[in-house]
Symmetry: C2
Subunit: 190 residues, 2 copies
Amino acid sequence: MARAGVTTERLTRAGAELADEVGFEQVTVSELARRFDVKVASLYSHVKNSHDLKTRIALLALEEMADRGAAALAGRAGKDALAAFADVYRDYAREHPGRYTAARFRLDPEAAAASAGVRHAQMMRAILRGYDLSEPDETHAVRLLGSAFHGYVSLEAAGSFSHSAPDAQESWSRIVDALDALLRNWPAAP
Amino acid sequence: MARAGVTTERLTRAGAELADEVGFEQVTVSELARRFDVKVASLYSHVKNSHDLKTRIALLALEEMADRGAAALAGRAGKDALAAFADVYRDYAREHPGRYTAARFRLDPEAAAASAGVRHAQMMRAILRGYDLSEPDETHAVRLLGSAFHGYVSLEAAGSFSHSAPDAQESWSRIVDALDALLRNWPAAP
DNA sequence: GCAGCTACCTAATAGCTTTAGGCAAACGCA
DNA sequence: TGCGTTTGCCTAAAGCTATTAGGTAGCTGC
């Protein structure tokens, strides 16, 4: 019989697409086997197990977002950079909801350290260099931005903003404006 | 044989406890049956299916959080109210990680409308009455607060803040301070 | 053109979900 | 107290996913 040409690479990619179609939690080794027209057991030569597959999808998503982030930041600073970076997250989540969820998949410490998550943190710091914060406020601000972006995107994905005015885009812009204002006027510790 | 005394109520409660122990996604009809020392099929007289069970756990969690929120808001206003309310979310998530995740479970529109989610929104508005915002800024602010709280809590639960200084509690306080400052100085629309 | 690697297969185990149909305990009522 | 009905719990069975063990045949390199 002809071989199907399954590789870890292709599996991961197909898994990411599947995640976008049916949701990250619904990504299943069985469904992938079906898509490659191959028996389920065959996939276990390419991927350790289901958890391994999900980890790989998560790493892929983190890479893709980090790449987009880096492109968005090139040549920008200050609020411009902040807004562009924020849009990267939101746009990615809207285009690739399954991958976005995957990026939130809890990685074991080794995987996390080797992941593009590190680049994300660096980019966030780079943006904050355009504002006048010093430690530990910069860290607090990194955490606030991460929380606000991730929170907004995941609430929006859950449909929380879709049944009331104003629309999600408008709130997003105004929230980015507000965060910019806050960073320029970060309150001193009490 | 003696009857085990399973009820929808008790199932939901046990499901919530199980969620806190092993994670909401790992809540399984089978495990619950084991805990009630009853055959799996028996549970299907009390609960429509797995999705129904999870919905009930979600509704329970939303109720519990709303009750805590209401208690925290009683007699408070302004920043005091903001901080107390914020702590309700974070503390609940730390005490009941599985239930907190459950509260984020996507409900069908009817269930959502009948849920305590409505009370959450009302309380958020009540807090904002202590600041000087008018529509549509108040809505934007509601969304920002929801995003920031939820985002922070879920990043903290994922361990994002646990491997670097300063500790999660300190950032949390400073972020609440910052959000308070922002609400008192909300930037005008461009 | 053969040796060996490996992609893919069959077979089997095990767990979770859900439906159908049956028995007996508990409850309502005379 | 005894009868009938409700219903809580059971057995049985089918279908899905995950995972492991061991076999076969296609491709690669010499």
